[in-house]
Amino acid sequence: MNVNDYEIGGSRKLTSLPRAPGAPPRDLIKRQGVWLHTLISLAILAVVALLGWLIVMSGAIRWQTVWTYLFAPPVLAGFLVTLELTVLSMLIGVVLGIAAALMVRSRVRSISWVGKAYIWFFRGTPVLVQLIFWFNMSLVFPTIGFGTWTLPTNDVITPFVAALLGLGINEGAYMSEIFRAGLDSVDKGQTEAGLASGMTPSQVMRRVVLPQALIVITPPTGNQAIGMLKTTSLVSVIAAQDLLTKVQHIYATNYQVIDLLIVACFWYLLATSVATWGQSKLERSFAGADPNVVGTRRWRRGRTSDAGAGDPQKVSDHD
């Protein structure tokens, strides 16, 4: 489209940038001290190769075992639970995070206080402790419900549910800070313009402020999701059947600890790599000093005004 595409794409070489007609070829400017860079690279390569050689030759890793368990059904099942926990607890975290961020901004002081207390408590205690807490909830409330609708707590709060509650509620406290920063990043004039147009405060929040805050909120949320992929391994202490739990169960019987941890690392790395790739794609679509020019347009293609003046149906989403 224009020069922006090149800056944002980043992968194109400087010399291939479009040149104004009639302009002379670009000057070729060479780097100095290239031999030093080469030397440093070679030294790093040697150290890495040596470390690799030592690990492989130590015999501690039985690659055959790694291979055997890499696609073993319990490992794959555990990986699936890890993914489920990540997605679901992030969803809980986002919902609670929006709620807490809005509560903190409330004019009603008691509501604001509840939001602040939530953030204070769940950011102030270790998530591992919180997980064990949820897991042992039956010690505080042996049954849940009222009247004839009563169930034993341990039937309701299974290890998976305890993991979800622990991770999700903890994440909400962190997400609320991300949302707060995002909402604060939207210029106050946007709110005033919305109010002056006769929109109610909640319409202004939903239709004007939140959509723009999202641009600021999305990258750190991706970061949190990638962190969550790894944080889920904590739920192995309450045997929530995630990837680490499964791997631990296997090495508890065959004692091939390192090999199975490598299996676990393979799947964690695969998931975080895919997530990182997705995040960088998302961020690139938000990139640029002015988020309104390139990023959001690409991101919202088909949703908003890019459809142009001719098609009223595509101009905006519904309220």
Binding site: D187, G189, Q190, E192, A193, G194, L195, A196, S197, G198, M199, T200, P201, S202, Q203, R207, V208, P211, Q212, I215, D290, P291, N292, V293, T296, R297, T304, S305, D306, G308, A309, P312, Q313, V315, S316, H318, D319
Partner: protein
Amino acid sequence: MTDPILVADGIWKSFGNLAVLKGVSMSVSRGEVVALLGPSGSGKSTFLRCLDFLEQPDSGVVTLNGERVGVIETARGLYERKSHDLARQRSRLGMVFQRFNLFGHVSAIENVAMPLRLVKDLSHAEAHERAVEILGRMGLADHGHKRPSQLSGGQQQRVAIARAVALNPDAILFDEPTSALDPELVHEVLDTMSALARDGMTMIVVTHEIGFAKQVADRVVFMDGGVILEQGTAVDVLDNPQNPRTRAFLAKVT
């Protein structure tokens, strides 16, 4: 000019220890164009914002079409209006800001159409049609699909005016609408405003554009130190100022 549409009576407003407005009163008739002049810090913008209840006056009464803005009087005292009620009142009063304040995430058309859908309950198609029509009237037919960041300052401000006009308000308040513009873009915004005035729109304009005040305003009001010092026809106030502070101010800006 005997039909008062927007009336402010004895407006006081302080920020901390600083009294910005010290009992400002003004009555604006239907179709009247009032230019509000004064040095920076004189309280012009704060006064304008009090009329729309973006700032809550410490005391004083603002009425729009005889209805108190922002508060309800009862036997037990004053009560804040519910948010949807205040929103309904604000929809009767347009506001154009110095920094345009267009919604940054949507197109020019959508900037105009969104309030029409949310506030006037128009359908998507109706709101879109009306937005296109009004932007066309403002000379922005080719720019409707663009984002605010892709428009010049003058174009942005004209979209902002279109957004205010689209709601068909009883009056439009302009808060230094040309102060943030490059000099060569000022005239296009002033032309748009002049056209609005000719169409009979009731307007209160905080401005430093003496020429505009002279040509378009039915009444010029000079404010300083939180009070109105002088008002009258453009000829009276601008060509024959009585108050020494008005004279000093006009000597500086012209």
